[in-house]
Protein backbone atom coordinates (compact mmCIF):
# COMPACT_ATOMS: atom_id res chain seq x y z
CA UNK A 1 0.00 0.00 0.00
CA UNK A 2 1.21 3.53 -0.68
CA UNK A 3 2.21 5.64 2.29
CA UNK A 4 -1.10 7.09 3.46
CA UNK A 5 0.14 9.81 5.80
CA UNK A 6 2.62 11.16 3.24
CA UNK A 7 0.03 11.09 0.46
CA UNK A 8 -2.58 12.90 2.52
CA UNK A 9 0.06 15.47 3.48
CA UNK A 10 0.90 16.09 -0.19
CA UNK A 11 -2.76 16.32 -1.21
CA UNK A 12 -3.53 18.64 1.71
CA UNK A 13 -0.62 20.92 0.88
CA UNK A 14 -1.70 21.12 -2.76
CA UNK A 15 -5.28 21.95 -1.82
CA UNK A 16 -4.25 24.40 0.90
CA UNK A 17 -1.84 26.28 -1.38
CA UNK A 18 -4.40 26.39 -4.14
CA UNK A 19 -7.28 27.55 -1.92
CA UNK A 20 -5.17 30.28 -0.33
CA UNK A 21 -4.02 31.54 -3.75
CA UNK A 22 -7.58 31.37 -5.09
CA UNK A 23 -8.82 33.38 -2.09
CA UNK A 24 -6.44 36.22 -2.92
CA UNK A 25 -7.37 36.05 -6.61
CA UNK A 26 -10.92 37.07 -5.65
CA UNK A 27 -9.80 40.02 -3.51
CA UNK A 28 -9.71 43.57 -4.81
CA UNK A 29 -6.17 44.63 -5.59
CA UNK A 30 -3.88 46.08 -8.22
CA UNK A 31 -2.99 42.97 -10.24
CA UNK A 32 -6.47 41.49 -9.81
CA UNK A 33 -7.75 44.52 -11.73
CA UNK A 34 -5.27 44.24 -14.60
CA UNK A 35 -6.53 42.75 -17.87
CA UNK A 36 -5.66 39.04 -17.64
CA UNK A 37 -4.04 38.90 -21.08
CA UNK A 38 -1.83 41.89 -20.31
CA UNK A 39 -0.93 40.41 -16.92
CA UNK A 40 0.04 37.01 -18.36
CA UNK A 41 2.13 38.51 -21.16
CA UNK A 42 3.65 41.12 -18.80
CA UNK A 43 4.69 38.54 -16.21
CA UNK A 44 6.06 36.25 -18.93
CA UNK A 45 8.09 39.20 -20.25
CA UNK A 46 9.44 39.99 -16.76
CA UNK A 47 10.57 36.38 -16.36
CA UNK A 48 12.20 36.46 -19.80
CA UNK A 49 14.09 39.59 -18.72
CA UNK A 50 15.28 37.81 -15.57
CA UNK A 51 16.35 34.71 -17.47
CA UNK A 52 18.33 36.77 -19.97
CA UNK A 53 20.43 38.83 -17.59
CA UNK A 54 23.36 38.29 -15.24
CA UNK A 55 23.00 41.73 -13.67
CA UNK A 56 22.61 41.29 -9.95
CA UNK A 57 21.12 44.74 -9.43
CA UNK A 58 18.43 44.22 -12.03
CA UNK A 59 17.52 40.85 -10.49
CA UNK A 60 17.33 42.39 -7.03
CA UNK A 61 15.24 45.25 -8.37
CA UNK A 62 12.91 42.82 -10.15
CA UNK A 63 12.45 40.83 -6.94
CA UNK A 64 11.64 44.01 -5.00
CA UNK A 65 9.30 45.06 -7.83
CA UNK A 66 7.44 41.75 -7.50
CA UNK A 67 7.15 42.24 -3.73
CA UNK A 68 5.73 45.73 -4.31
CA UNK A 69 3.17 44.17 -6.67
CA UNK A 70 2.30 41.67 -3.94
CA UNK A 71 1.62 44.44 -1.44
CA UNK A 72 -0.36 46.50 -3.95
CA UNK A 73 -2.46 43.42 -4.70
CA UNK A 74 -3.39 42.96 -1.03
CA UNK A 75 -1.58 39.63 -0.77
CA UNK A 76 0.02 38.88 2.58
CA UNK A 77 3.82 38.57 2.41
CA UNK A 78 3.62 36.05 5.26
CA UNK A 79 1.61 33.78 2.99
CA UNK A 80 3.38 34.70 -0.23
CA UNK A 81 7.04 34.21 0.70
CA UNK A 82 6.82 30.72 2.27
CA UNK A 83 4.78 29.53 -0.70
CA UNK A 84 7.73 29.69 -3.10
CA UNK A 85 10.64 29.68 -0.65
CA UNK A 86 11.49 26.05 -1.34
CA UNK A 87 12.61 26.53 -4.96
CA UNK A 88 15.20 29.30 -4.33
CA UNK A 89 16.50 27.33 -1.32
CA UNK A 90 16.82 24.25 -3.52
CA UNK A 91 18.57 26.30 -6.23
CA UNK A 92 20.97 27.80 -3.65
CA UNK A 93 21.93 24.37 -2.28
CA UNK A 94 22.51 22.98 -5.78
CA UNK A 95 24.89 25.72 -6.87
CA UNK A 96 26.54 26.30 -3.46
CA UNK A 97 29.64 24.15 -4.28
CA UNK A 98 30.52 26.65 -7.02
CA UNK A 99 31.65 29.08 -4.32
CA UNK A 100 34.71 26.83 -4.15
CA UNK A 101 34.71 25.34 -7.65
CA UNK A 102 34.69 28.58 -9.65
CA UNK A 103 38.24 29.65 -10.59
CA UNK A 104 39.34 33.04 -9.28
CA UNK A 105 41.14 34.92 -6.54
CA UNK A 106 40.45 33.25 -3.15
CA UNK A 107 38.73 35.57 -0.69
CA UNK A 108 38.00 33.12 2.10
CA UNK A 109 39.37 29.77 3.23
CA UNK A 110 37.09 27.21 4.87
CA UNK A 111 38.36 23.78 5.98
CA UNK A 112 40.98 23.76 3.26
CA UNK A 113 38.62 25.00 0.54
CA UNK A 114 39.07 28.40 -1.07
CA UNK A 115 35.97 30.48 -1.73
CA UNK A 116 36.46 32.76 -4.73
CA UNK A 117 34.79 36.06 -5.52
CA UNK A 118 33.51 34.87 -8.97
CA UNK A 119 32.09 31.81 -7.21
CA UNK A 120 30.29 33.86 -4.57
CA UNK A 121 28.91 36.22 -7.23
CA UNK A 122 27.72 33.30 -9.35
CA UNK A 123 25.86 31.67 -6.47
CA UNK A 124 24.23 34.97 -5.45
CA UNK A 125 23.26 35.81 -9.06
CA UNK A 126 21.84 32.35 -9.78
CA UNK A 127 19.83 32.20 -6.56
CA UNK A 128 18.57 35.74 -7.04
CA UNK A 129 17.54 35.00 -10.63
CA UNK A 130 15.56 31.93 -9.58
CA UNK A 131 14.02 33.88 -6.68
CA UNK A 132 12.96 36.77 -8.94
CA UNK A 133 11.49 34.36 -11.52
CA UNK A 134 9.56 32.31 -8.96
CA UNK A 135 8.33 35.46 -7.27
CA UNK A 136 7.04 36.78 -10.62
CA UNK A 137 5.22 33.56 -11.55
CA UNK A 138 3.73 33.47 -8.05
CA UNK A 139 2.19 36.88 -8.78
CA UNK A 140 0.17 35.15 -11.47
CA UNK A 141 -0.85 32.28 -9.18
CA UNK A 142 -1.99 34.59 -6.39
CA UNK A 143 -3.91 37.11 -8.44
CA UNK A 144 -5.54 35.14 -11.25
CA UNK A 145 -8.73 33.09 -11.16
CA UNK A 146 -8.43 29.87 -13.11
CA UNK A 147 -11.53 30.70 -15.17
CA UNK A 148 -9.87 33.97 -16.21
CA UNK A 149 -6.67 32.12 -17.03
CA UNK A 150 -8.54 29.75 -19.33
CA UNK A 151 -10.27 32.67 -21.04
CA UNK A 152 -6.89 34.33 -21.46
CA UNK A 153 -5.37 31.24 -23.06
CA UNK A 154 -8.33 31.08 -25.43
CA UNK A 155 -7.98 34.75 -26.35
CA UNK A 156 -4.25 34.20 -26.96
CA UNK A 157 -5.28 31.66 -29.64
CA UNK A 158 -4.15 28.53 -27.82
CA UNK A 159 -6.10 25.77 -29.69
CA UNK A 160 -9.54 25.13 -28.16
CA UNK A 161 -9.12 21.36 -27.57
CA UNK A 162 -6.03 22.04 -25.45
CA UNK A 163 -7.73 24.75 -23.39
CA UNK A 164 -10.76 22.46 -22.99
CA UNK A 165 -8.45 19.76 -21.61
CA UNK A 166 -6.81 22.25 -19.23
CA UNK A 167 -10.30 23.16 -18.01
CA UNK A 168 -11.27 19.54 -17.51
CA UNK A 169 -8.04 18.73 -15.66
CA UNK A 170 -8.63 21.64 -13.34
CA UNK A 171 -12.35 20.95 -12.89
CA UNK A 172 -11.99 17.25 -12.08
CA UNK A 173 -8.65 17.25 -10.27
CA UNK A 174 -10.20 18.02 -6.90
CA UNK A 175 -12.92 15.46 -7.40
CA UNK A 176 -10.28 12.82 -8.21
CA UNK A 177 -8.11 13.83 -5.28
CA UNK A 178 -11.11 13.39 -3.03
CA UNK A 179 -11.87 9.98 -4.57
CA UNK A 180 -8.25 8.89 -4.20
CA UNK A 181 -8.28 10.00 -0.59
CA UNK A 182 -11.42 7.94 0.08
CA UNK A 183 -9.93 4.88 -1.65
CA UNK A 184 -6.75 5.09 0.42
CA UNK A 185 -8.63 5.53 3.69
CA UNK A 186 -10.89 2.60 2.80
CA UNK A 187 -7.95 0.30 2.12
CA UNK A 188 -6.10 1.48 5.19
CA UNK A 189 -9.14 0.63 7.31
CA UNK A 190 -9.13 -2.93 5.96
CA UNK A 191 -5.45 -3.55 6.76
CA UNK A 192 -4.97 -5.13 10.19
CA UNK A 193 -1.25 -5.91 10.26
CA UNK A 194 2.01 -4.34 9.17
CA UNK A 195 2.67 -5.08 5.49
CA UNK A 196 5.99 -5.96 3.92
CA UNK A 197 7.35 -3.59 1.26
CA UNK A 198 6.56 -5.90 -1.67
CA UNK A 199 3.00 -6.38 -0.48
CA UNK A 200 2.64 -2.60 -0.03
CA UNK A 201 3.79 -2.06 -3.61
CA UNK A 202 1.55 -4.75 -5.00
CA UNK A 203 -1.46 -3.26 -3.22
CA UNK A 204 -0.44 0.24 -4.27
CA UNK A 205 -0.27 -0.84 -7.91
CA UNK A 206 -3.79 -2.24 -7.65
CA UNK A 207 -5.00 1.03 -6.10
CA UNK A 208 -3.54 3.01 -9.02
CA UNK A 209 -4.98 0.51 -11.53
CA UNK A 210 -8.40 0.66 -9.89
CA UNK A 211 -8.20 4.43 -9.78
CA UNK A 212 -7.29 4.62 -13.50
CA UNK A 213 -10.18 2.26 -14.35
CA UNK A 214 -12.54 4.59 -12.50
CA UNK A 215 -10.97 7.51 -14.35
CA UNK A 216 -11.87 5.92 -17.67
CA UNK A 217 -15.43 5.21 -16.54
CA UNK A 218 -15.73 8.77 -15.28
CA UNK A 219 -14.44 10.04 -18.64
CA UNK A 220 -17.18 8.13 -20.47
CA UNK A 221 -19.87 9.30 -18.04
CA UNK A 222 -18.72 12.89 -18.25
CA UNK A 223 -18.82 12.73 -22.04
CA UNK A 224 -22.38 11.33 -21.97
CA UNK A 225 -23.43 14.03 -19.50
CA UNK A 226 -21.85 16.70 -21.68
CA UNK A 227 -23.47 15.28 -24.78
CA UNK A 228 -26.85 15.30 -23.04
CA UNK A 229 -26.33 18.98 -22.31
CA UNK A 230 -25.60 19.83 -25.94
CA UNK A 231 -21.84 19.25 -26.20
CA UNK A 232 -20.91 19.24 -29.89
CA UNK A 233 -17.14 19.20 -29.63
CA UNK A 234 -16.71 22.76 -28.47
CA UNK A 235 -16.98 24.19 -24.98
CA UNK A 236 -19.19 27.23 -24.70
CA UNK A 237 -18.11 29.66 -22.04
CA UNK A 238 -19.54 32.88 -20.75
CA UNK A 239 -18.25 35.79 -22.84
CA UNK A 240 -15.49 37.67 -21.10
CA UNK A 241 -15.68 41.42 -21.25
CA UNK A 242 -12.08 42.50 -21.66
CA UNK A 243 -11.58 46.14 -20.76
CA UNK A 244 -8.19 47.75 -20.57
CA UNK A 245 -8.65 50.02 -17.58
CA UNK A 246 -6.35 52.34 -15.68
CA UNK A 247 -4.71 49.50 -13.73
CA UNK A 248 -3.80 47.74 -16.96
CA UNK A 249 -2.25 50.91 -18.35
CA UNK A 250 -0.24 51.44 -15.15
CA UNK A 251 0.93 47.80 -15.29
CA UNK A 252 2.04 48.21 -18.93
CA UNK A 253 3.97 51.35 -17.95
CA UNK A 254 5.61 49.54 -15.00
CA UNK A 255 6.64 46.60 -17.18
CA UNK A 256 7.93 49.11 -19.73
CA UNK A 257 10.03 50.75 -17.00
CA UNK A 258 11.46 47.31 -16.09
CA UNK A 259 12.33 46.71 -19.75
CA UNK A 260 14.02 50.13 -19.81
CA UNK A 261 16.08 49.31 -16.71
CA UNK A 262 16.99 45.93 -18.21
CA UNK A 263 18.20 47.68 -21.38
CA UNK A 264 20.23 50.22 -19.39
CA UNK A 265 21.91 47.46 -17.34
CA UNK A 266 22.95 45.73 -20.58
CA UNK A 267 24.73 48.84 -21.97
Amino acid sequence: MVELAGTIKVISKLLRDFLIAEEYAYKAGFLQGVDQRIKLIGIFLLIVLAVSTQNIFFLLFLFLFSLAMVLLSNVSLKIYLPRFGFIPTFAFIIVLPWIFLMPGQPVLSLVGLNATMPGIMYVITFTLRVTACVSCISLLLFTTRVSDLLHTLRSLKIPDPLVDMFGLVYRYLFSFLSELHRMLLGRECRIVSEQKLLKKWNDGGKVVGNFLSRTFSRGENVYKAMKARGYDGTFRTYPQDYKIGAKSVVFIVLVGVMVGIWLVTRL
Partner: protein, 211 residues
Protein backbone atom coordinates in the same frame (compact mmCIF):
# COMPACT_ATOMS: atom_id res chain seq x y z
CA UNK B 1 12.00 16.77 -12.77
CA UNK B 2 10.10 20.04 -13.15
CA UNK B 3 12.71 22.64 -14.13
CA UNK B 4 11.96 26.04 -12.54
CA UNK B 5 12.55 29.37 -14.28
CA UNK B 6 16.11 30.67 -14.18
CA UNK B 7 17.93 27.33 -14.64
CA UNK B 8 18.26 27.53 -18.44
CA UNK B 9 19.51 29.95 -21.08
CA UNK B 10 16.77 31.84 -22.89
CA UNK B 11 17.72 30.41 -26.29
CA UNK B 12 17.37 26.85 -24.97
CA UNK B 13 13.96 27.73 -23.51
CA UNK B 14 12.94 29.03 -26.95
CA UNK B 15 14.28 25.96 -28.78
CA UNK B 16 12.49 23.60 -26.37
CA UNK B 17 9.24 25.57 -26.79
CA UNK B 18 9.52 25.23 -30.58
CA UNK B 19 10.30 21.48 -30.49
CA UNK B 20 7.47 20.82 -28.03
CA UNK B 21 5.03 22.96 -30.02
CA UNK B 22 5.85 21.03 -33.20
CA UNK B 23 5.19 17.67 -31.49
CA UNK B 24 1.96 18.97 -29.88
CA UNK B 25 0.67 20.25 -33.24
CA UNK B 26 1.69 16.95 -34.90
CA UNK B 27 -0.09 14.96 -32.17
CA UNK B 28 -3.23 17.09 -32.49
CA UNK B 29 -3.20 16.58 -36.27
CA UNK B 30 -2.84 12.82 -35.86
CA UNK B 31 -5.95 12.97 -33.68
CA UNK B 32 -7.80 15.18 -36.13
CA UNK B 33 -11.49 14.39 -36.09
CA UNK B 34 -11.17 12.46 -32.83
CA UNK B 35 -10.66 15.61 -30.78
CA UNK B 36 -14.24 16.63 -31.43
CA UNK B 37 -15.97 13.57 -29.93
CA UNK B 38 -15.51 11.78 -26.63
CA UNK B 39 -11.74 12.01 -26.88
CA UNK B 40 -11.35 15.47 -25.30
CA UNK B 41 -13.30 14.58 -22.09
CA UNK B 42 -11.50 11.23 -21.91
CA UNK B 43 -8.04 12.76 -22.31
CA UNK B 44 -8.94 15.45 -19.78
CA UNK B 45 -10.21 12.88 -17.29
CA UNK B 46 -7.16 10.63 -17.62
CA UNK B 47 -4.90 13.69 -17.30
CA UNK B 48 -6.72 14.73 -14.10
CA UNK B 49 -6.45 11.14 -12.84
CA UNK B 50 -2.71 10.99 -13.53
CA UNK B 51 -2.24 14.37 -11.87
CA UNK B 52 -4.08 13.09 -8.78
CA UNK B 53 -2.16 9.78 -8.81
CA UNK B 54 1.13 11.73 -8.89
CA UNK B 55 0.34 12.76 -5.32
CA UNK B 56 0.71 9.18 -4.07
CA UNK B 57 3.70 8.62 -1.82
CA UNK B 58 5.46 5.33 -2.61
CA UNK B 59 7.55 3.92 0.25
CA UNK B 60 11.12 3.02 -0.71
CA UNK B 61 13.73 1.27 1.45
CA UNK B 62 15.44 3.66 3.84
CA UNK B 63 12.28 5.28 5.16
CA UNK B 64 11.86 7.76 2.34
CA UNK B 65 9.29 7.89 -0.45
CA UNK B 66 8.91 8.77 -4.11
CA UNK B 67 6.28 9.93 -6.59
CA UNK B 68 5.69 8.78 -10.12
CA UNK B 69 5.22 10.86 -13.28
CA UNK B 70 2.89 8.66 -15.32
CA UNK B 71 3.96 9.59 -18.86
CA UNK B 72 4.31 5.97 -20.00
CA UNK B 73 0.97 5.07 -18.41
CA UNK B 74 -0.70 7.92 -20.33
CA UNK B 75 0.96 6.82 -23.58
CA UNK B 76 -0.05 3.17 -23.16
CA UNK B 77 -3.63 3.84 -22.03
CA UNK B 78 -4.46 6.62 -24.49
CA UNK B 79 -1.96 6.05 -27.29
CA UNK B 80 1.09 8.29 -27.81
CA UNK B 81 -0.65 11.31 -29.34
CA UNK B 82 -3.54 11.57 -26.88
CA UNK B 83 -1.15 10.58 -24.06
CA UNK B 84 1.16 13.42 -25.05
CA UNK B 85 -1.73 15.94 -25.01
CA UNK B 86 -2.92 14.66 -21.63
CA UNK B 87 0.54 15.14 -20.10
CA UNK B 88 0.78 18.59 -21.73
CA UNK B 89 -2.48 19.46 -19.92
CA UNK B 90 -1.11 18.18 -16.60
CA UNK B 91 2.19 20.07 -16.92
CA UNK B 92 0.55 23.32 -18.07
CA UNK B 93 -1.94 23.32 -15.20
CA UNK B 94 0.86 22.45 -12.77
CA UNK B 95 2.88 25.40 -14.08
CA UNK B 96 0.17 28.06 -14.39
CA UNK B 97 -2.07 27.12 -11.46
CA UNK B 98 0.18 25.35 -8.93
CA UNK B 99 3.59 26.87 -9.69
CA UNK B 100 5.32 23.54 -10.41
CA UNK B 101 7.94 24.18 -13.08
CA UNK B 102 8.79 27.47 -14.70
CA UNK B 103 6.82 29.24 -17.42
CA UNK B 104 9.95 29.75 -19.57
CA UNK B 105 10.95 26.14 -18.82
CA UNK B 106 7.52 24.77 -19.76
CA UNK B 107 8.74 23.76 -23.23
CA UNK B 108 11.61 21.74 -21.74
CA UNK B 109 9.36 20.17 -19.09
CA UNK B 110 6.83 19.18 -21.75
CA UNK B 111 9.63 17.73 -23.87
CA UNK B 112 10.97 15.48 -21.11
CA UNK B 113 7.72 14.39 -19.42
CA UNK B 114 5.04 14.69 -22.12
CA UNK B 115 7.05 13.78 -25.19
CA UNK B 116 10.09 11.61 -24.37
CA UNK B 117 8.44 9.76 -21.47
CA UNK B 118 5.15 9.19 -23.31
CA UNK B 119 6.47 8.25 -26.76
CA UNK B 120 9.41 6.14 -25.53
CA UNK B 121 7.13 4.36 -23.06
CA UNK B 122 4.58 3.65 -25.76
CA UNK B 123 7.16 2.46 -28.31
CA UNK B 124 8.82 0.09 -25.82
CA UNK B 125 5.43 -1.30 -24.83
CA UNK B 126 4.34 -1.91 -28.42
CA UNK B 127 7.72 -3.39 -29.37
CA UNK B 128 7.89 -5.87 -26.48
CA UNK B 129 4.32 -6.64 -25.42
CA UNK B 130 4.05 -9.71 -27.66
CA UNK B 131 7.13 -11.23 -26.01
CA UNK B 132 6.27 -10.51 -22.39
CA UNK B 133 3.55 -8.14 -21.21
CA UNK B 134 4.95 -7.61 -17.70
CA UNK B 135 8.45 -6.88 -18.94
CA UNK B 136 7.16 -4.54 -21.65
CA UNK B 137 5.12 -2.53 -19.12
CA UNK B 138 7.98 -2.37 -16.64
CA UNK B 139 10.54 -1.31 -19.23
CA UNK B 140 8.11 1.23 -20.74
CA UNK B 141 7.71 2.94 -17.35
CA UNK B 142 11.37 2.65 -16.40
CA UNK B 143 13.12 3.62 -19.62
CA UNK B 144 10.52 6.26 -20.46
CA UNK B 145 11.19 8.21 -17.30
CA UNK B 146 14.92 7.49 -17.44
CA UNK B 147 15.29 8.97 -20.91
CA UNK B 148 12.96 11.84 -19.98
CA UNK B 149 15.21 12.67 -17.02
CA UNK B 150 18.29 12.34 -19.22
CA UNK B 151 16.74 14.85 -21.64
CA UNK B 152 16.32 17.21 -18.67
CA UNK B 153 20.00 16.64 -17.85
CA UNK B 154 20.95 17.49 -21.43
CA UNK B 155 19.08 20.81 -21.53
CA UNK B 156 20.47 21.79 -18.12
CA UNK B 157 23.99 20.72 -19.13
CA UNK B 158 23.90 22.77 -22.34
CA UNK B 159 22.74 25.89 -20.44
CA UNK B 160 25.56 28.29 -19.62
CA UNK B 161 23.67 29.84 -16.67
CA UNK B 162 23.75 26.45 -14.94
CA UNK B 163 27.44 26.04 -14.11
CA UNK B 164 27.50 22.25 -13.93
CA UNK B 165 28.79 20.72 -17.16
CA UNK B 166 26.97 18.46 -19.58
CA UNK B 167 28.59 15.26 -18.28
CA UNK B 168 27.68 16.09 -14.66
CA UNK B 169 24.03 16.98 -15.27
CA UNK B 170 23.41 14.03 -17.60
CA UNK B 171 25.15 11.62 -15.21
CA UNK B 172 23.34 12.87 -12.12
CA UNK B 173 19.91 12.92 -13.76
CA UNK B 174 20.56 9.63 -15.54
CA UNK B 175 21.85 7.71 -12.51
CA UNK B 176 19.32 9.16 -10.04
CA UNK B 177 16.30 8.63 -12.26
CA UNK B 178 17.70 5.36 -13.56
CA UNK B 179 17.33 4.14 -9.97
CA UNK B 180 14.08 5.98 -9.16
CA UNK B 181 12.69 4.97 -12.54
CA UNK B 182 12.51 1.38 -11.33
CA UNK B 183 9.65 2.54 -9.10
CA UNK B 184 7.94 4.12 -12.10
CA UNK B 185 8.40 0.87 -14.03
CA UNK B 186 6.91 -1.25 -11.25
CA UNK B 187 3.94 1.11 -10.76
CA UNK B 188 3.29 1.21 -14.52
CA UNK B 189 3.39 -2.58 -14.69
CA UNK B 190 1.12 -3.20 -11.68
CA UNK B 191 -1.38 -0.47 -12.54
CA UNK B 192 -1.81 -1.27 -16.23
CA UNK B 193 -1.93 -5.02 -15.54
CA UNK B 194 -4.79 -4.33 -13.14
CA UNK B 195 -6.61 -2.22 -15.74
CA UNK B 196 -6.08 -4.87 -18.43
CA UNK B 197 -7.35 -7.64 -16.19
CA UNK B 198 -10.63 -5.77 -15.72
CA UNK B 199 -10.96 -3.96 -19.05
CA UNK B 200 -8.96 -6.01 -21.57
CA UNK B 201 -10.59 -4.16 -24.46
CA UNK B 202 -9.08 -0.88 -23.32
CA UNK B 203 -5.72 -1.53 -24.98
CA UNK B 204 -5.53 -3.66 -28.12
CA UNK B 205 -3.21 -6.31 -26.67
CA UNK B 206 -3.16 -9.73 -28.39
CA UNK B 207 -5.38 -12.14 -26.43
CA UNK B 208 -2.74 -14.79 -25.92
CA UNK B 209 -0.53 -12.22 -24.21
CA UNK B 210 -3.30 -10.98 -21.88
CA UNK B 211 -4.22 -14.52 -20.98
Amino acid sequence: MHIPDGFMDLWICAVMYIISAVVIVYSARKLKGKLEGPQVPLIGMVAAGIFAAQMLNWPIPGGTSAHFVGGAIAGILLGPYAGCLSMVSVLTIQCLVFGDGGITALGANIFSMAIVDVFVGYWIFTALRQRNLDVSLFLAGWIGIWLGATATGVVLGVSSVFAYGFVTTVSVMGIWHGALGIIEGIISMLAIKFVLDRQPDLIPVPKEVVA
